[in-house]
């Protein structure tokens, strides 16, 4: 009894001994040292230490993870994940800091979170052109013809930055319709094109009948 109490008093952390198998869900707010096996799910608000004899087959959510043993499963850490030279892991790592030293064995994906904002913005721009084309043909065919000259230079510059597909099409002289479609779309969105055509009609009618013009306005 005395021995056990001493143990409890001295160690503030949890230890899973080498011959122990835990299968299920393990949660806690303290450091966890694994020398045996843990299977299932581990979530801690502190550090998980997998020692060389330790085997963890689990999805792990912790603050820090130090892997010197074997981990099969995904690790999500709010601070860091470290694979030491004895560490072996198969699974995905998601953590702002990931350290893999020489000698470590790892297969899986690494996500450090802060993907460059550029990549994110590029994707949306490429998607936009794809969406717009479908709308254009139905709405207004005549306008592309009206603004053919100005668009080409803009399309080449914008297309190169925005999307690979559009730039490729615009770069080739064989496919003139693509660039014209691009610019018209933008202009149409900013300035409602449909009204202008009716106006000429109104003007002609106005010349004939002033009363009708006033009513329309």
């Amino acid at each position: 009894m005395a021995a056990t109490r001493e143990f409890g008093a001295t160690t503030d952390s949890t230890v899973i001994g080498p011959s122990i198998l835990i299968s299920g869900k393990l949660t806690g707010d303290e450091d966890l040292t694994v020398r045996g096996r843990v299977e299932g799910e581990v979530s801690l608000t502190k550090t998980l230490i997998v020692e060389p004899s330790g085997i963890v087959k689990a999805n792990v959510a912790v603050r820090n993870a130090i892997v010197s043993g074997v981990v099969v499963g995904n690790i999500t850490a709010t601070e860091s994940v470290e694979l030491t030279k004895e560490g072996r892991m198969v699974g995905d790592i998601r953590s702002p800091r990931v350290i893999i030293v020489d000698g470590a064995s790892f297969r899986g994906r690494v996500d450090m979170g802060n993907a460059e904002p550029r990549a994110a913005t590029d994707r949306p721009t490429t998607q936009r052109p794809l969406v717009r084309p479908t709308v254009r043909p139905a709405v207004a065919p005549p306008r592309p013809i009206a603004k053919p000259m100005a668009p080409p230079p803009r399309t080449s510059s914008s297309s190169s930055s925005s999307s690979s597909s559009s730039s490729a099409s615009s770069g080739k002289p064989n496919l003139p319709p693509a660039p014209t479609r691009h610019e018209p779309r933008e202009t149409r969105e900013n300035k409602p094109p449909p009204p202008p055509p009716p106006q000429p009609m109104a003007m002609a009618e106005a010349g004939k009948k002033k009363v009708l013009i006033k009513k329309k306005k």
Binding site: M1, G17, L21, G24, T27, G36
Partner: protein, 107 residues
């Protein structure tokens, strides 16, 4: 050497098995089977069926306990469940509700 210690803030929901001593200061739900001794300390809470060689309980245990050698219920423990072991000690001050079976010759 290293006993296995389940710290006071740890919660395990599942199964624990092994061949070494286990100290529980936290919470374990499910099942525990050991070939050695289990110590449930005062802060320990166990809601599990237990199969061990020896068990010392100072905390709270809900579940059936089967020991091949000895079960000891300490003074401030609270145990609910059936206890089966050749030797069973219940200290003064222990709280216990359940059946006791010391006539274990199966093992």
């Amino acid at each position: 050497m290293a006993n296995t210690i389940i710290g006071s803030s740890i919660v395990i929901d599942g199964e624990i098995s092994g061949d070494e001593d286990l100290v529980i200061q936290g919470t374990v739900k499910g099942k525990i089977s050991l070939k050695e001794s289990l110590f449930v300390e005062a802060s320990g809470v166990v809601e599990a069926d237990i199969e061990v060689q020896n068990v010392d309980i100072a905390g709270r245990v809900t579940g059936n306990i089967a020991a091949t050698e000895k079960v000891e219920l300490k003074a401030d423990c609270r145990v609910v469940g059936d206890v089966r072991a050749p030797r069973i000690l219940i200290a003064d001050g222990a709280s216990f509700k359940g059946n006791v079976d010391m006539d274990v010759k199966e093992r």
